[in-house]
Protein backbone atom coordinates (compact mmCIF):
# COMPACT_ATOMS: atom_id res chain seq x y z
CA UNK A 1 0.00 0.00 0.00
CA UNK A 2 1.44 3.35 -1.04
CA UNK A 3 0.84 6.19 1.45
CA UNK A 4 1.30 9.90 0.63
CA UNK A 5 2.56 12.07 3.49
CA UNK A 6 2.15 15.84 3.10
CA UNK A 7 3.83 18.00 5.74
CA UNK A 8 6.14 21.01 5.48
CA UNK A 9 8.23 19.77 8.42
CA UNK A 10 10.88 17.32 7.26
CA UNK A 11 11.23 16.16 10.87
CA UNK A 12 7.54 15.36 11.10
CA UNK A 13 7.55 13.54 7.75
CA UNK A 14 10.43 11.47 9.02
CA UNK A 15 8.67 10.64 12.29
CA UNK A 16 5.53 9.58 10.42
CA UNK A 17 7.53 7.49 7.93
CA UNK A 18 9.37 5.85 10.82
CA UNK A 19 6.11 5.09 12.62
CA UNK A 20 4.57 3.68 9.44
CA UNK A 21 7.55 1.40 8.82
CA UNK A 22 7.24 0.03 12.36
CA UNK A 23 3.65 -0.97 11.67
CA UNK A 24 4.41 -2.48 8.30
CA UNK A 25 3.85 0.33 5.79
CA UNK A 26 7.09 1.04 3.93
CA UNK A 27 5.86 2.28 0.55
CA UNK A 28 5.70 6.02 1.15
CA UNK A 29 5.84 9.18 -0.99
CA UNK A 30 6.28 12.68 0.42
CA UNK A 31 5.18 16.22 -0.35
CA UNK A 32 6.20 19.39 1.51
CA UNK A 33 2.94 21.25 0.86
CA UNK A 34 -0.43 20.78 -0.80
CA UNK A 35 0.77 21.57 -4.32
CA UNK A 36 3.57 19.01 -4.06
CA UNK A 37 1.06 16.55 -2.61
CA UNK A 38 -1.22 16.96 -5.63
CA UNK A 39 1.72 16.34 -7.94
CA UNK A 40 2.61 13.12 -6.13
CA UNK A 41 -1.01 12.04 -6.14
CA UNK A 42 -1.15 12.66 -9.90
CA UNK A 43 1.72 10.22 -10.41
CA UNK A 44 -0.65 7.45 -9.35
CA UNK A 45 -0.68 4.47 -7.01
CA UNK A 46 -1.42 6.36 -3.78
CA UNK A 47 -4.00 4.53 -1.66
CA UNK A 48 -4.03 6.70 1.45
CA UNK A 49 -3.09 10.27 2.41
CA UNK A 50 -1.74 11.63 5.68
CA UNK A 51 -1.64 15.43 5.63
CA UNK A 52 -0.75 18.35 7.87
CA UNK A 53 -2.92 21.49 7.89
CA UNK A 54 -0.59 24.48 8.30
CA UNK A 55 1.70 24.61 5.29
CA UNK A 56 2.91 27.25 2.81
CA UNK A 57 1.90 27.35 -0.88
CA UNK A 58 -1.27 25.29 -0.38
CA UNK A 59 -2.47 24.41 3.11
CA UNK A 60 -3.91 21.08 4.16
CA UNK A 61 -7.54 22.17 3.96
CA UNK A 62 -7.15 23.44 0.37
CA UNK A 63 -5.26 20.27 -0.46
CA UNK A 64 -8.04 18.05 0.90
CA UNK A 65 -10.64 20.02 -1.06
CA UNK A 66 -8.57 19.66 -4.24
CA UNK A 67 -8.15 15.93 -3.67
CA UNK A 68 -11.85 15.43 -3.01
CA UNK A 69 -12.70 17.28 -6.23
CA UNK A 70 -11.00 14.46 -8.14
CA UNK A 71 -11.18 11.50 -5.77
CA UNK A 72 -14.09 10.95 -3.40
CA UNK A 73 -12.95 7.68 -1.89
CA UNK A 74 -9.24 7.83 -1.00
CA UNK A 75 -8.83 7.74 2.81
CA UNK A 76 -7.42 10.99 4.23
CA UNK A 77 -6.04 11.36 7.74
CA UNK A 78 -5.23 14.88 8.94
CA UNK A 79 -2.39 15.16 11.47
CA UNK A 80 -2.10 18.70 12.79
CA UNK A 81 -1.63 20.96 15.79
CA UNK A 82 -5.04 22.55 15.13
CA UNK A 83 -7.09 21.27 18.03
CA UNK A 84 -10.10 23.60 18.15
CA UNK A 85 -13.50 21.97 17.64
CA UNK A 86 -14.32 24.29 14.73
CA UNK A 87 -11.05 23.31 13.03
CA UNK A 88 -11.80 19.61 13.33
CA UNK A 89 -15.35 20.08 12.01
CA UNK A 90 -14.06 22.24 9.13
CA UNK A 91 -11.57 19.52 8.16
CA UNK A 92 -14.21 16.80 8.31
CA UNK A 93 -16.55 18.90 6.18
CA UNK A 94 -13.75 19.36 3.64
CA UNK A 95 -13.49 15.59 3.30
CA UNK A 96 -11.02 14.38 5.90
CA UNK A 97 -11.90 10.89 7.17
CA UNK A 98 -10.19 11.11 10.52
CA UNK A 99 -8.13 13.52 12.59
CA UNK A 100 -5.07 13.26 14.84
CA UNK A 101 -3.75 16.13 16.95
CA UNK A 102 0.05 16.54 17.20
CA UNK A 103 1.97 15.38 19.11
CA UNK A 104 0.72 11.81 18.72
CA UNK A 105 1.83 8.35 19.81
CA UNK A 106 2.63 5.57 17.32
CA UNK A 107 -0.31 3.60 18.74
CA UNK A 108 -2.71 6.44 17.90
CA UNK A 109 -1.45 6.70 14.33
CA UNK A 110 -1.64 2.94 13.91
CA UNK A 111 -5.19 2.80 15.28
CA UNK A 112 -6.39 5.62 13.00
CA UNK A 113 -4.76 4.13 9.89
CA UNK A 114 -6.17 0.69 10.58
CA UNK A 115 -9.65 2.10 11.20
CA UNK A 116 -9.48 3.96 7.87
CA UNK A 117 -8.29 0.92 5.98
CA UNK A 118 -10.49 -1.52 7.88
Amino acid sequence: MKILIVDDSSTMRRIIINTLSRIGYTDVVEGEHGKAGLEKLGQGGVEMIITDWNMPEMDGLEFVQAVRAQNASIPILMVTTNAAKEDIVQALQAGVNNYVVKPFTPDTLKEKIESLLG
Partner: protein, 190 residues
Protein backbone atom coordinates in the same frame (compact mmCIF):
# COMPACT_ATOMS: atom_id res chain seq x y z
CA UNK B 1 23.02 27.04 16.34
CA UNK B 2 25.85 29.51 16.16
CA UNK B 3 25.85 33.09 14.94
CA UNK B 4 27.59 32.24 11.64
CA UNK B 5 24.76 29.88 10.72
CA UNK B 6 22.15 32.50 11.50
CA UNK B 7 24.12 35.10 9.55
CA UNK B 8 24.37 32.76 6.54
CA UNK B 9 20.62 32.21 6.49
CA UNK B 10 19.92 35.89 6.97
CA UNK B 11 22.32 36.83 4.17
CA UNK B 12 20.56 34.36 1.86
CA UNK B 13 16.99 35.25 2.75
CA UNK B 14 16.99 38.92 3.67
CA UNK B 15 19.64 41.48 2.83
CA UNK B 16 18.75 43.88 5.58
CA UNK B 17 20.85 46.15 7.75
CA UNK B 18 22.45 44.66 10.86
CA UNK B 19 20.03 44.26 13.74
CA UNK B 20 20.04 46.54 16.73
CA UNK B 21 20.45 44.53 19.95
CA UNK B 22 17.21 43.62 21.75
CA UNK B 23 17.75 46.25 24.43
CA UNK B 24 18.01 48.92 21.74
CA UNK B 25 14.81 47.65 20.14
CA UNK B 26 12.98 48.01 23.42
CA UNK B 27 14.42 51.47 24.05
CA UNK B 28 15.25 52.98 20.64
CA UNK B 29 18.11 55.45 20.58
CA UNK B 30 18.56 58.32 18.16
CA UNK B 31 20.00 56.86 14.95
CA UNK B 32 18.69 53.33 15.60
CA UNK B 33 16.89 51.43 12.82
CA UNK B 34 13.32 52.48 12.20
CA UNK B 35 10.84 50.30 14.11
CA UNK B 36 9.56 48.46 11.02
CA UNK B 37 13.11 47.40 10.02
CA UNK B 38 13.77 46.05 13.52
CA UNK B 39 10.56 44.08 13.19
CA UNK B 40 11.65 42.58 9.86
CA UNK B 41 14.97 41.60 11.39
CA UNK B 42 13.30 39.85 14.31
CA UNK B 43 11.07 37.92 11.91
CA UNK B 44 14.08 36.85 9.86
CA UNK B 45 15.90 35.72 12.99
CA UNK B 46 12.92 33.66 14.13
CA UNK B 47 12.76 32.09 10.67
CA UNK B 48 16.46 31.31 10.99
CA UNK B 49 15.90 29.69 14.38
CA UNK B 50 13.17 27.42 13.01
CA UNK B 51 15.29 26.46 9.98
CA UNK B 52 18.34 25.66 12.08
CA UNK B 53 16.43 23.72 14.76
CA UNK B 54 14.77 21.63 12.04
CA UNK B 55 18.14 20.85 10.52
CA UNK B 56 19.69 20.02 13.90
CA UNK B 57 16.72 17.85 14.87
CA UNK B 58 17.24 15.90 11.66
CA UNK B 59 20.87 15.38 12.67
CA UNK B 60 19.68 13.88 15.96
CA UNK B 61 17.27 11.70 13.96
CA UNK B 62 20.21 10.58 11.79
CA UNK B 63 22.07 9.48 14.92
CA UNK B 64 19.02 7.65 16.27
CA UNK B 65 18.62 5.89 12.91
CA UNK B 66 22.27 4.87 13.12
CA UNK B 67 21.87 3.51 16.67
CA UNK B 68 18.79 1.62 15.55
CA UNK B 69 20.70 0.13 12.63
CA UNK B 70 23.63 -0.85 14.88
CA UNK B 71 21.29 -2.56 17.34
CA UNK B 72 19.78 -4.46 14.42
CA UNK B 73 23.24 -5.59 13.33
CA UNK B 74 24.08 -6.63 16.88
CA UNK B 75 20.85 -8.65 17.15
CA UNK B 76 21.70 -10.46 13.90
CA UNK B 77 25.21 -11.28 15.14
CA UNK B 78 23.89 -12.60 18.44
CA UNK B 79 21.31 -14.75 16.64
CA UNK B 80 24.20 -16.26 14.64
CA UNK B 81 26.19 -16.77 17.80
CA UNK B 82 23.34 -18.74 19.38
CA UNK B 83 23.70 -21.38 16.65
CA UNK B 84 27.39 -21.89 17.44
CA UNK B 85 28.15 -25.30 19.10
CA UNK B 86 30.04 -23.58 21.89
CA UNK B 87 26.99 -21.50 22.78
CA UNK B 88 24.66 -24.43 23.47
CA UNK B 89 25.31 -24.47 27.20
CA UNK B 90 22.09 -23.45 29.00
CA UNK B 91 23.94 -20.81 31.00
CA UNK B 92 25.39 -19.26 27.84
CA UNK B 93 22.00 -19.37 26.10
CA UNK B 94 20.39 -17.60 29.07
CA UNK B 95 23.07 -14.90 28.99
CA UNK B 96 22.63 -14.44 25.24
CA UNK B 97 18.87 -14.13 25.68
CA UNK B 98 19.46 -11.40 28.25
CA UNK B 99 21.68 -9.53 25.80
CA UNK B 100 18.99 -9.87 23.10
CA UNK B 101 16.36 -8.54 25.51
CA UNK B 102 18.57 -5.57 26.41
CA UNK B 103 19.01 -4.87 22.69
CA UNK B 104 15.25 -4.78 22.22
CA UNK B 105 14.93 -2.35 25.14
CA UNK B 106 17.50 -0.07 23.48
CA UNK B 107 15.58 -0.27 20.19
CA UNK B 108 12.31 0.66 21.94
CA UNK B 109 13.96 3.65 23.63
CA UNK B 110 15.41 4.81 20.30
CA UNK B 111 11.90 4.72 18.79
CA UNK B 112 10.54 6.65 21.78
CA UNK B 113 13.24 9.29 21.34
CA UNK B 114 12.37 9.59 17.63
CA UNK B 115 8.70 10.10 18.48
CA UNK B 116 9.61 12.80 21.01
CA UNK B 117 11.27 14.78 18.20
CA UNK B 118 7.75 15.99 17.36
CA UNK B 119 8.54 18.78 19.82
CA UNK B 120 10.50 20.46 17.01
CA UNK B 121 7.43 20.83 14.80
CA UNK B 122 5.29 22.00 17.74
CA UNK B 123 7.92 24.61 18.70
CA UNK B 124 8.29 25.68 15.07
CA UNK B 125 4.56 26.30 14.81
CA UNK B 126 4.57 28.27 18.05
CA UNK B 127 7.29 30.47 16.57
CA UNK B 128 5.26 30.76 13.34
CA UNK B 129 2.41 32.12 15.43
CA UNK B 130 4.72 34.70 17.01
CA UNK B 131 5.99 35.64 13.54
CA UNK B 132 2.39 36.01 12.35
CA UNK B 133 1.63 38.48 15.13
CA UNK B 134 4.90 40.35 14.58
CA UNK B 135 4.05 40.71 10.89
CA UNK B 136 0.65 42.13 11.79
CA UNK B 137 2.35 44.70 14.04
CA UNK B 138 4.98 45.34 11.33
CA UNK B 139 2.35 45.97 8.64
CA UNK B 140 0.36 48.17 10.99
CA UNK B 141 3.43 50.33 11.62
CA UNK B 142 4.20 50.43 7.88
CA UNK B 143 0.64 51.62 7.21
CA UNK B 144 0.99 54.19 9.97
CA UNK B 145 4.31 55.52 8.68
CA UNK B 146 3.36 55.15 5.02
CA UNK B 147 6.69 53.61 4.00
CA UNK B 148 5.13 51.04 1.69
CA UNK B 149 7.33 48.16 2.95
CA UNK B 150 4.72 45.51 3.66
CA UNK B 151 5.42 41.90 4.58
CA UNK B 152 6.37 39.84 1.58
CA UNK B 153 6.07 36.18 0.66
CA UNK B 154 3.54 33.50 1.31
CA UNK B 155 3.92 31.74 4.64
CA UNK B 156 2.36 28.68 6.18
CA UNK B 157 -1.05 29.23 7.72
CA UNK B 158 -0.89 29.20 11.51
CA UNK B 159 -2.63 27.12 14.12
CA UNK B 160 -5.10 29.06 16.22
CA UNK B 161 -4.61 26.68 19.13
CA UNK B 162 -0.86 26.13 19.03
CA UNK B 163 -0.29 28.50 21.95
CA UNK B 164 -1.93 25.96 24.27
CA UNK B 165 -0.52 22.86 22.60
CA UNK B 166 1.79 20.80 24.79
CA UNK B 167 4.58 18.51 23.68
CA UNK B 168 3.27 15.37 25.36
CA UNK B 169 1.57 13.06 22.86
CA UNK B 170 -2.21 12.70 22.82
CA UNK B 171 -3.07 15.48 25.27
CA UNK B 172 -5.89 16.51 22.90
CA UNK B 173 -6.75 13.08 21.58
CA UNK B 174 -9.96 12.43 23.53
CA UNK B 175 -11.28 15.84 22.52
CA UNK B 176 -10.51 15.31 18.82
CA UNK B 177 -11.95 11.81 18.86
CA UNK B 178 -15.21 13.01 20.41
CA UNK B 179 -15.56 15.80 17.80
CA UNK B 180 -14.97 13.29 14.98
CA UNK B 181 -17.50 10.86 16.48
CA UNK B 182 -20.08 13.61 16.94
CA UNK B 183 -19.59 14.77 13.33
CA UNK B 184 -20.03 11.23 12.00
CA UNK B 185 -23.17 10.73 14.11
CA UNK B 186 -24.64 13.94 12.71
CA UNK B 187 -23.94 12.71 9.17
CA UNK B 188 -25.63 9.37 9.79
CA UNK B 189 -28.75 11.15 11.10
CA UNK B 190 -29.07 13.22 7.88
Amino acid sequence: MDQSEIDAILAKGAAKPAAAPPAAAAHPKPGALPAHEDQGQVISELDAVTAVTERETNKVMDQLDLISSLVGTQQALITGLMQHPGAQDPGVQAAINQVMSAGKDIQDKVYEAMDLMQFQDITRQKLERIVFHLRQIHDYIVDLLGTGLKSEGERASISRTIATTGTTPDEKRAHADSVVAEFKRSLSKD
